[in-house]
Amino acid sequence: MTATDTALTSTDATAEFGRISLRQLVKQFDSREGATLAVDHIDLDTEAGEFVTLLGPSGCGKTTTLRMVAGFETPTSGQITLDGDDMTRLTPDKRPMSMVFQSYALFPHMSVADNVAYGLKLKKLPRAEIAEQVEAALTSMDLVRFVNRAPSQLSGGQQQRVALARAMVMRPKVLLFDEPLSNLDAKLRVQMRTEIRSLQQRLGITALYVTHDQDEAMSLSDRIVVMNHGRIEQIGTPEDIYRHPATVFVADFIGSANFLECTLQSASDGNAIVEVLGGERTIPAAPGVAAASGHVVLVRPESVKVSRLVQAPAGAETVEGNHGRVLRSVFYGEHVEYEVDTAAGPIVAIDSDPDPSDILAVGDVVEVDFPRSRGWVLPAE
């Protein structure tokens, strides 16, 4: 399937456990204003050792779902199982899962070593064994020099590594992450996510990860669960979600998207014949487009090709067919971004590393095109 899958099988992952199943999971919050359905009948199954990310805008129910898996929220209805054992009514301390929190949640009155040893002490392991495992965990996270420091004496990144070590040392069947990187600066975030991914693969622990950051989701996950309004919009590999989104919402939420107005002629076999940009094209289509009433063609900005018309047809309408006029041209350094007015609506195009003489100016009349395989026909919302 994907590159990440091969990477997973090539590790020494031994885990044969950590299969989470969510069945018709519902969480309803009651307040004076009425009931809100935070999580609305969701189903999800993870493989052992899989890295699954719940992605969505704030309020989509992803954190509530994670907290139900952890045991911090009690589901209104539905079932949570781990390797076939029912977890639904178990208190958090009885679940073989460890969580890494957005705020790190390090115990401020304990040293780094005591924080990491906390769970092991509760397991009543022998002293020597605790010391050994703590040492190993701190070594693997490159934290040995901070052993006796208080959490308040560490930087954000270091604190998050301690939190990670503390969760990891428990050898949980599942690692839960609640937006663990959102309090870090951009550079550290990239570094930490590489670290989390390689650690998770090395240990072969199933991970359930919540974020609203699509870069994080794309770079970490085996599969991404896109959520909106308490429901699952789509489950798929990062590539799937990006190239073949199931809904306009998913397409719009992941990356940037152009939705071109089109008319569907016919659809079959995963392809659709549509009229778009003044021509008839056969384009890959989402399942079930034939049944939908309206349609759009998704084209990512980097797939849009714009080229200057050397001879603008004199007197002709410039925004017609596959012709358009440049509304905006922004130079970003590594790429140039255009907004082009077309008959199918405004289209954003990205030209990577253009030749200086090819950079378009506002008002230029251009021809707009995209490779057939880069389009994706979707039911309009």
């Binding site: 004076r32 208190t91 958090p92 301390d93 390090l106």
Partner: protein, 587 residues
């Protein structure tokens, strides 16, 4: 209070938070496990025994036939109408003046540039630890008929007894509550707001009236109400300096101890209880949630202090005068303890201490200290457990548990005492079985000590509970969740995570509990026994007999014990190095 009102009035503050934060906060309460259920049951049982049952007995007596006659006479009898009116007038006057004094002093402390802020702060807090009669007796000595100042210096024969003296004494005793409220609010007032106002063209004066005062309105309401309750609930001062000015508390006292009429005592208690609890509920659950300033304990930014002499000089002169009065009062107590009769015969003597430290006085000192030391850790721990249950563990009923715990503060001491006298002076017998032996009174087990420890506990508990709730709200709920996620049960989390983190709050809860126990009079006066003597009651006896020297000596010893134990407690609790990293320590 109906079931719906408490959560309903809590809601506004939560509604101002962004949605994710709101959900996070409420969901910080993890699923209820067995250990939590056990703890809740024990706590509810204890509170039921210590406050609900005695209050229930008051209600039963007040609604008995002879009790109800007294209740109705509050409206029919001119004498009783006068007593109710006196009580309300006293509460209103003390509430207003105490709030004003507290505000002015807090404003000076926070906003005005002067040296010696720490000393001034301590002086303002002195009345908190003072024994109940210290201020009243000192004021009588200084300003009474033969007062050192009024008669000795000005030759005037003033009558300090009655409303004026009572007001003066109560304002001086209770203003620290207002002072602390306003100090906290002013320190947390973002200086940028003042700067913004000035930047937009507002003068200091305009900024004060249009920005600062409106933001403090909840503080004015809160401290007025608190002082109102304190003033109407007070018994010691009306007895000593009230003269003919009878209030409900002193009337109930006379009914019980003079007329042996528990039904009438209960009736007066009921009338006293209703406004006190009502005002308390309004203050706790409504006013305090209206605040636009969150008191986090961390000062907000650097403040430019008032240095302009036209404002600074009069304010500092005023502050100096108030400081002088407070210091003067305590100096009177101290000096009075070491001379024969202060103002009449100022010869140095240790007779007062000799009297106090022999016989009954000595017993009282030991009994009081021992019982307070027993009650202090119980109250501190119980307060923290309730705080933890309220903030973290309970989904439903947390408002009710909070209210139950706070009852010990909301219910006037006189009412608690009368309730205890009725409830615990006889064994509880239902059918033929004895459920509870007599805990208080002469015939009780342990010489009535059990009832006294319970009174100390229930009266001290709310301060620990409040401090604990405030401290817990500052701790990220995910710290608790992290502990649960690592395999800790609710009780383990409380012991290993919560308690160490709220250690400073726990300490202040303990200190306050001890000081309050040692200096409390109104509930104790009804349940002391010949076997168990309590210092505050002995002081009352000395004051009644006119032996002010002995009373001053008692007060001095009481102060010395309180200060010593407070010092020791803070050494013990702060001694643990882990405390340094805890949340509250940064405050």
């Amino acid at each position: 209070m109906s079931a719906g009102t408490v959560p309903a009035v809590i809601e506004p503050s939560a509604a101002t938070l962004p949605t994710p934060a709101k959900r996070r906060r409420t969901s910080g309460r993890a699923g209820v496990d067995v250990s939590t259920v056990v703890v809740v049951s024990v706590v509810v049982l204890l509170l039921g025994l210590m406050i609900v049952y005695p209050l229930g007995m008051i209600f039963a007596q007040a609604f008995s036939q002879s009790g109800w006659e007294v209740v109705t006479s509050m409206f029919t009898s001119a004498v009783n109408r006068g007593i109710v009116a006196n009580t309300l007038v006293l509460g209103t006057v003390v509430g207003a003046l105490g709030t004003l004094l507290g505000f002015v002093l807090a404003y000076i402390q926070v906003m005005v540039d002067f040296r010696g802020k720490k000393i001034f702060h301590l002086i303002c807090l002195l009345p908190v630890v003072s024994p109940p009669f210290a201020v009243a007796t000192a004021i009588i000595t200084l300003l009474g008929r033969r007062g050192i100042i009024t008669y000795g210096i000005f030759g005037a024969q003033t009558n300090i007894y009655g409303l004026p003296g009572l007001t003066l004494v109560l304002v001086l005793s209770f203003f620290p509550v207002a002072y602390m409220t306003f100090k906290g609010m002013l320190e947390n007032l973002d200086p940028a707001l003042e700067e913004a106002s000035e930047n937009l063209g507002g003068s200091k004066w305009q900024t004060f009236w249009k920005v600062i005062i409106p933001m403090l309105v909840p503080g004015f309401a809160a401290s007025f109400l608190l002082l109102f309750v304190e003033a109407i609930a007070d018994l010691a001062n009306p007895l000593v300096i009230g003269g003919d000015f009878t209030v409900l508390a002193s009337r109930a006292f006379i009914a019980i101890t003079g007329e042996y009429d528990t039904a009438a005592g209960s009736a007066y208690s009921l009338i006293l209880l209703l406004p006190a609890v009502l005002v308390f509920v309004i203050q706790q659950y409504w006013v305090s949630r209206k605040s636009t300033i969150s008191v986090t304990g961390k000062p907000a930014g650097q403040r430019r202090l008032l240095t302009n002499p036209s404002g600074r000089v009069p304010l500092l002169v005023f502050a100096g005068l108030v400081g002088l009065v407070i210091v003067g009062i305590y100096a009177t107590v101290l000096i009075g303890a070491f001379v024969k009769i202060l103002g009449v015969n100022n010869e140095f003597t240790l007779d007062n201490f000799r009297y106090v430290l022999s016989g009954i006085g000595n017993e009282a000192i030991i009994d009081t200290t021992v019982l307070a030391l027993i009650a202090t850790p119980i109250a501190g721990l119980l307060g923290m457990v309730i705080a933890w249950l309220v903030v973290r563990r309970l989904r439903h009923g947390s408002a009710w548990l909070d209210f139950l715990g706070m009852l010990g503060l909301a219910v006037p001491g006189t009412v608690v005492g009368i309730g205890y006298a009725i409830a615990f002076n006889q064994p509880l017998i239902i059918g033929n079985r004895m459920f509870l032996p007599a805990l208080g009174g002469g015939a009780a087990i342990l010489g009535g000590a059990a009832a006294i420890v319970m009174v100390y506990t229930i009266r001290s508990l709310p301060s620990g509970q409040r401090a604990g709730i405030a401290a817990l709200r500052q701790i990220d709920p995910s710290i608790d969740e992290a502990s649960a996620s690592l395999g800790a049960t609710g009780v383990t989390t409380f012991r290993t995570i919560t308690l160490p983190l709220i250690r400073p709050a726990f300490l202040s809860g303990l200190i306050y509990a001890f000081a309050r126990s040692m200096t409390t009079l109104s509930p104790i006066i009804f349940i002391t026994t010949p076997e168990t003597r309590i210092m505050t009651k002995q002081i009352l006896a000395e004051v009644d007999a006119g032996r002010f020297g002995n009373a001053f000596a008692f007060c001095t010893l009481l102060l010395a014990i309180v200060v010593t134990v407070m010092g020791l407690l803070s050494l013990i609790v702060r001694g643990n190095p882990a405390g340094r990293n805890s949340v509250g320590a940064a405050q």
